[in-house]
């Protein structure tokens, strides 16, 4: 009994607990929370370098009635859809391959990670060279195999620029998806496979009946997380195309950046940032609710 009170006294000094968290909490409040609120306030003003005045919903009205903005929103979701689905599909295939018990797999597992670790901005400098229309290797292979009948600037035309940025984004995102799927696959209990093997299940049916259902929570988690990161993706598009040609790769984040720090129209930029925040909050809420459910289920088991 005495031990118990001792334990409690060690575990529940609430004041100390808060005091230890305070520095980090205050820092985040100042650098993240306050700017979030300030962004909302600025979105109702015509703030620029010159000053600011309250203008009500004008920024929003202009934004929503602008055809260009509506196009940007649709484009953002199309871009996201392609990028996220490709990341998940390629990541799943990659994880299956790297999970196969063949010689050299531990080396491959390390080699898959560089695009994830390296600063995105520098990786994109490499992609700029790959996409070079005259001298790049992709155009080169295209010309030599006759698929292209001359130099082709992948980033210079609307459609090809759109696809090129998606591919570069997939390249950045695949390693993480692969690594997480791989970790999930390794967590599947071995006896499930052994039992299925004894019952004569083929490799395919073991994959579809055991592996896939077992890693579904991770697949769902990763799809939401990649959706969030893809939505936030800035550097990839900015370095490859700066949102061009003629706006073909301008997503919401790029548009926000251009309005805010390209033109110093803080008010208009803030209105766009608020839209981004609302969408992100929806994603994040969805993700957290899901995570809480998964954790609860794990706790039950």
């Amino acid at each position: 009994m005495k031990m118990k009170t001792k334990l409690r006294s060690y575990n529940s000094p609430t004041f100390l607990a808060y005091a230890l968290i305070a520095p980090a909490a205050i820092y985040i409040l100042c650098i993240v929370a306050w700017p979030l609120i300030e962004t909302v306030r600025l979105s109702f003003t015509n703030s620029s370098l010159a000053g600011e005045e309250y203008i009500g919903f004008e920024n929003y009205e202009k934004m929503i009635s602008s055809k260009k903005f509506n196009k940007i929103v649709i484009r953002t979701f199309v871009w996201m859809f392609f990028s996220v689905s490709l990341k998940l599909i390629i990541g799943l295939i990659g994880a299956v391959l790297l999970n196969a018990n063949v010689f050299g797999r531990s080396a491959f597992r390390v080699l898959v990670m560089p695009p994830w670790v390296v600063p995105i901005a520098i990786g994109m400098l490499g992609w700029l060279w790959l996409y070079n229309g005259y001298f790049g290797i992709i155009a080169g292979v295209g010309m030599r195999t006759g698929i292209l009948d001359g130099p082709f600037g992948f980033l210079a035309y609307k459609q090809s620029a759109f696809i090129s940025t998606v591919i570069a984004d997939v390249w950045v995102g695949v390693p993480m998806v692969t690594v997480f799927f791989l970790a999930a696959m390794q967590g599947v209990p071995k006896d499930l496979y052994e039992a299925a093997y004894c019952d004569g299940a083929s490799r395919w049916s073991r994959f579809f009946r055991i592996t896939l259902p077992q890693i579904t929570p991770v697949i769902v988690t990763m799809s939401i997380l990649s959706a969030i990161w893809t939505f936030n993706s800035f550097e990839i598009i900015w370095i490859l195309t700066e949102g061009g040609p003629r706006g073909a790769t301008t997503t919401l984040i790029i548009d926000t950046y251009k309005q805010a720090l390209g033109n110093y129209k803080f008010g208009r930029g803030a209105a766009r940032a608020v839209v981004v925040m609302i969408l992100l909050t929806l994603f994040a809420g969805f993700y957290l609710a899901l995570l809480a459910r998964i954790n609860k289920r794990v706790a039950h088991e």
């Binding site: 529940s12 985040i28 390629i90 400098l125 936030n232 909050t281």
Partner: protein, 279 residues
């Protein structure tokens, strides 16, 4: 049951080959381009073969990009200061989350996760104004201050899980023996959590090295403070890009991160996936 037929093995290796080509092609091509003379690079269509490969670009790049050394230093300096500051904020907070029960604990932990989902781009405008008000635009601080904020959430989660692995009985025993909390922290927690601190420190280092670009191009226009991604990005804008030197400089810029990562990848991957993958 783990035996593959030869056909299956071939298929697996073929798949791995394609997958790895996609992942590694940019790096291989960057390295290859950095070894080739400029007039070989500027041939259209692309020439696969060059006979006079050399490391010439690696010595020439310092002249073409006069501030390259400074950029590399800046990247290191920014990443080091940012990750140390992050640790300073994160250690007490993570310890508190790992050890104490208090109201709003779970809510605040999930809020931290939510912060992770907001990219810096959303907050650029108020941050820009904030930094301008304090006269911090175009300084190192302009890149460090927001950098730390975006590393804190994940670092707390990572370090918390390390602290949780230290048996609480050890602390309780010391506590019963009359040790103060400070003493416990110094003599029990600190030595046992060193590996965790190293991993979180490295996570923060790689993370801040990676996120420099956005804050650098938004909040800093002074060349002498530019980190390497921003510095090189400026050069790409020029009409004639010396691609071999640019690729050489890029590789030199990412080498430190890659090396650190290769040595410690096992711990980093374990730490990062542990949170998301249960069991």
């Amino acid at each position: 049951m783990n035996k593959y037929t030869i056909l299956e093995k071939l298929l697996i290796y073929f798949g791995i080959l394609i997958f790895m080509t996609f992942i590694l092609l940019p790096f291989v091509e960057m390295f290859y381009a950095s070894l080739r003379p400029l007039d070989h690079l500027f041939r259209s269509p692309y020439q696969f073969y060059s006979d006079d490969l050399s490391f010439w670009a690696y010595s020439e790049m310092w002249k073409t990009v006069p501030m390259l050394g400074r950029y590399i230093f800046n990247s290191f300096f920014l990443a080091t200061v940012t990750s140390l500051l992050t640790l300073l904020f994160v250690i007490p907070a993570a310890y508190s989350y790992a050890r104490f029960k208090f109201p709003a604990k779970n809510t605040s932990l999930y809020l931290l996760l939510a912060i992770n989902m907001f990219s810096g781009a959303v907050l650029l405008i108020p941050l820009y104004k904030l930094l301008r008000t304090f006269g911090l635009l175009n300084t190192y601080q302009a890149m460090i201050v927001p950098g730390v904020a975006f590393l804190i959430p994940t670092s707390i989660w990572l370090l918390k899980s390390y602290f949780e692995k230290i048996p609480i009985e050890l602390e309780e025993a010391a506590f019963c023996d009359g040790a103060t909390r400070i003493q416990i922290l110094r003599h029990v927690i600190a030595p046992l959590s060193t590996p965790g601190l190293v991993v979180v420190g490295i996570y923060a280092f790689i993370g801040s090295y990676a996120q420099q670009f956005l804050f650098a191009i938004s909040f800093n226009q002074k060349k002498e403070f530019m980190p390497i991604p921003a510095g090189l990005y400026e050069f790409i804008g020029y009409t004639t890009v010396k691609w071999n030197e640019m690729m050489a400089a890029s590789l030199v810029g990412i080498a430190p991160v890659l090396l650190v990562f290769l040595f410690l990848q096992k711990y980093i991957v374990e730490g990062l996936t542990a949170g998301a993958v249960k069991n």
